[in-house]
């Protein structure tokens, strides 16, 4: 009974935190893009337009659901749910301070990567299920894209695991408290992981499944109303997961630099963690509003010919150094 109650409370808290963060991220994206483009951005709904995204979501909920007559019903309905649930579930093992986190798994990293990759299923389902040609091309691209960046991403991050000697998120951060942040040991790994993480979150310049100027809206062309809102929020939740991972693995998680972290209260840790995550998110938004979109074959070439060899070099070098130091 207690476990059930704990679970329900955990889910509700987690859901509201992620949904709130996703709303803030949408607002932030619109503001950042506006400022970069010499515009003002949303400023009508609420003070500084803060409630713009809330209003948008309410609008999407109230909208009529239009479904393509020949779509595959079950898959069509499941896709948006998975798109939001997968990053949501990945958050279970993300610790935001030394003692705060839903659950710390020994295999936490593997769990997060597995769930992060399963977002691809939702994209493929959406593309296949909605019986639209643009959506199908988007799904095809997504499948091809996933293989080419998932492998370098995991390979790049293996170096961190080698140094830390653990797959538990909390332990990895504790290791960074004892030594230094892993970005110092793994600068190449960090850059590779940042690039692959951007691709993982389907963000420009790697937003090929969506590719609005080519495929109208890609895999979610045929989605309206609440289902579209799920894809929309899911995209930002996935971005949040990616950035949390980068911060936890390379940027010392909740650690405050140059200070003895054992005496610092938890709320400062949480704030520092969130600041780091949002800085990484700003970086991703900055990429999106500066770079053109890559072409699908260039992306695959880039993944296999540039990222993967570099990731292997990084892995072998790290392994050798770790072996020698032992």
């Amino acid at each position: 009974m207690e476990i059930l109650l704990f679970g329900i409370i955990g889910v509700v808290v987690l859901f509201s935190v992620i949904a709130l963060n996703a709303l803030i991220l949408v607002y932030m994206e619109r503001k950042v893009s506006a400022w970069m483009q010499s515009r003002l951005g949303p400023n009508r709904v609420g003070p500084f337009g803060l409630f713009q995204t809330t209003a948008d979501i309410v609008k999407l909920i109230l909208k009529e659901n239009i479904r393509n007559d020949q779509s595959d019903k079950v898959i069509y309905f499941l896709a948006p749910i998975l798109a939001f649930v997968a990053p949501f579930a990945a958050f279970v093992t993300v610790p935001i301070a030394n003692t705060i986190g839903i659950r710390d798994l020994d295999m936490g990293a593997v769990y997060i990567f597995a769930l992060g990759s399963s977002v691809i299923f939702s994209i493929i389902w959406a593309g296949y299920g909605s019986n639209s040609r643009y959506a199908l091309i988007g799904a095809m691209r997504s499948a091809a894209q996933m293989v080419s960046y998932e492998v370098p991403m995991i390979t790049a991050v293996l170096g961190v695991f080698l140094i830390a000697g653990s797959l538990s998120m909390r332990e990895i951060v504790t290791m960074q408290a004892n030594q230094t942040w892993f970005i110092v040991y793994q600068p190449l790994g960090f850059i590779l992981f940042l690039i692959a993480g951007t691709a993982e979150a389907n963000r420009a310049p790697f937003d090929l499944p969506e590719a609005e100027s080519e495929l109208v809206a890609g895999f979610h062309t045929e989605y309206t109303g609440l289902k579209f809102a799920f894809f929309f929020l899911g995209e930002y939740a996935a971005m949040l997961v990616s950035c949390c991972l980068i911060v936890l693995l390379f940027l010392g998680g909740w650690l405050v630099p140059f200070v003895d972290n054992s005496i610092i209260p938890a709320w400062i840790h949480i704030t520092v963690f969130m600041i780091k995550v949002y800085l990484m998110i700003f970086l991703m938004m900055w990429f999106r509003w500066t770079f053109p979109r890559m072409r699908v074959d260039h992306l695959m070439g880039f993944g296999w010919k540039v990222l993967l060899p570099l990731a292997f070099i990084n892995l072998v070098a790290t392994g050798a150094v770790v072996l020698i130091l032992k």
Binding site: D207, A211, E214, P292, R293, M294, R295, H298
Partner: protein, 409 residues
């Protein structure tokens, strides 16, 4: 290397009867080098054509253009443009209006280069009716049409960036174009459909504020262009997306009647301002940018360089602006040119803009024909896109710089 032009299975939600199943344009060219398609052996997996209907409502068709694209995976096998969604019978309308009334309609054809569209008609009528235009009017025409060229290329640069995926460039292009629209508002009151260049001169004289605005703009233009180059031109992703993409040879370009920046990108410095100097262009010192690869990137570079050259012309014309009338003083309300015909061609932002006008001695032209650059440039699209990916289709279509009002008229 032959085409498999038969549609093997009818697509589920699109009737194949609506599409032409063969593409005569493409099949006429034997042994095209760029076709990287392989025909699958009959015994093995059979490749099916995947028909994709791009447009008329699509974010990157720049209006209501419909393209029926046959895909093999992501690779384009055929591409058939389907025009006419914006056809507004401007030639027929022009034949039923008096000579002065034609001018406002031409604004609506090439709505990004309205000044040039006005100018062609005005010159055609002046040649028919043998009207001498004051020199100040010619200078003003050159100034506004070159400013319009800059505005058009800025807008094109932004739209091309947005096609490729760099949305920020779109807003930057519009931001600077806005300054030029402010100038046009100052002299003729309109921001899009100017109707400024009239038969016998221009509508109104320029104001001191216009002069100030132009000089201010030309001062900041080089810095802004450098920003665009930093943002777009140097970007390796942009280079990969455009270099070599949609390349055509000079022979192909000439045989399809391609003109303007697209021809200059193929290595031919053909510009009517130099080849057949009209108006007061011989008095100005400017160059024609030429590049030799004929791909999207070279078209981009030609247009970026043309902006610099146009700025040069504007500043020379503004400095050397003669005093005098800005229009013919006594002009009959209803012009009745003698019987005859005339073909006027000029260098519009998109290429050669021609007006053929035939007079039967009455107050209305007997026959009007517009040769618009967008239409001729678009005709080479099926040839350019074959063998490229669906993402390149958007880039190639963007590099043509079509205005659908100009294509369909």
């Amino acid at each position: 290397m032959s085409h498999d032009t038969q549609i093997k299975k009818e697509p589920s939600n699109l009737s194949s009867k609506q599409f032409r199943t063969d593409s005569p344009l493409i099949d006429q060219i034997p042994g095209r080098k760029r076709q990287i398609l392989r025909e699958s052996p009959e015994s093995e997996l059979k490749m099916e054509e995947f028909l994709l209907n791009v447009g008329p409502q699509h974010p990157s068709t720049h209006g209501v253009l419909r393209l029926v694209v046959a895909l093999e995976g992501e690779v384009i096998k055929r591409c058939d443009p389907d025009l006419g969604y914006l056809h507004r019978t401007f030639e027929k309308i022009s034949e039923s209006r008096s000579y002065q009334q034609i001018v406002p309609f031409t604004d609506r054809m090439d709505y990004l280069g309205s000044m040039n569209a006005n100018w062609g008609v005005a010159v055609a009528v002046e040649k028919l009716a043998k009207i001498e235009v004051p020199e100040r009017a010619e200078y003003l025409r050159v100034i506004v049409s070159e400013l319009n060229r800059i505005a058009s290329h800025l807008m094109w640069m932004g739209a091309f960036g947005a096609d490729i995926g760099a949305v920020t460039a779109f807003l930057y292009g519009f931001r600077e174009r806005e300054l030029i629209l402010d100038m046009f508002e100052e002299i003729c009151g309109s921001r899009l459909t100017y109707g400024y260049i009239r038969v016998g001169g221009v509508a109104e004289d320029i104001t001191p504020k216009f002069d100030k605005l132009v000089r201010e703009f030309l001062d900041i233009l080089p810095a802004k262009l450098e920003d665009y180059h930093n943002l777009i031109t140097g970007n390796p992703i942009f280079l990969e997306r455009t270099r070599g993409v949609g390349a055509i040879t000079l022979e192909e370009a000439i045989s399809y009647g391609v003109t303007g920046p697209m021809l200059k990108a193929c290595g031919m410095p053909w510009d009517l301002r130099k080849e057949e100097p009209y108006s007061v262009y011989p008095k100005f010192d400017f160059d024609i940018p030429v590049y030799y690869n004929g791909d999207c990137f070279d078209r981009f570079r030609v247009r970026m360089d043309e902006m610099v050259e146009s700025a040069k012309i504007v500043i020379q014309a503004l400095d050397g602006l003669p005093e005098g009338d800005y229009k013919v003083k006594k002009l009959a309300r209803n012009i009745k040119p003698p019987v005859g015909d005339v073909y006027v061609r000029q260098e519009a932002p998109r290429g050669e803009y021609g007006v053929y006008m035939e007079s039967d001695g009455s107050t209305k032209p007997n026959r009007v024909k517009y040769r618009t650059p967008s239409f001729s440039n678009l005709s080479i699209l099926p040839l350019m896109t074959v063998g490229w990916k669906i993402a390149d289709l958007v880039a190639i279509l963007g590099s043509v710089d079509i205005v659908l009002g100009d294509v369909d008229r």
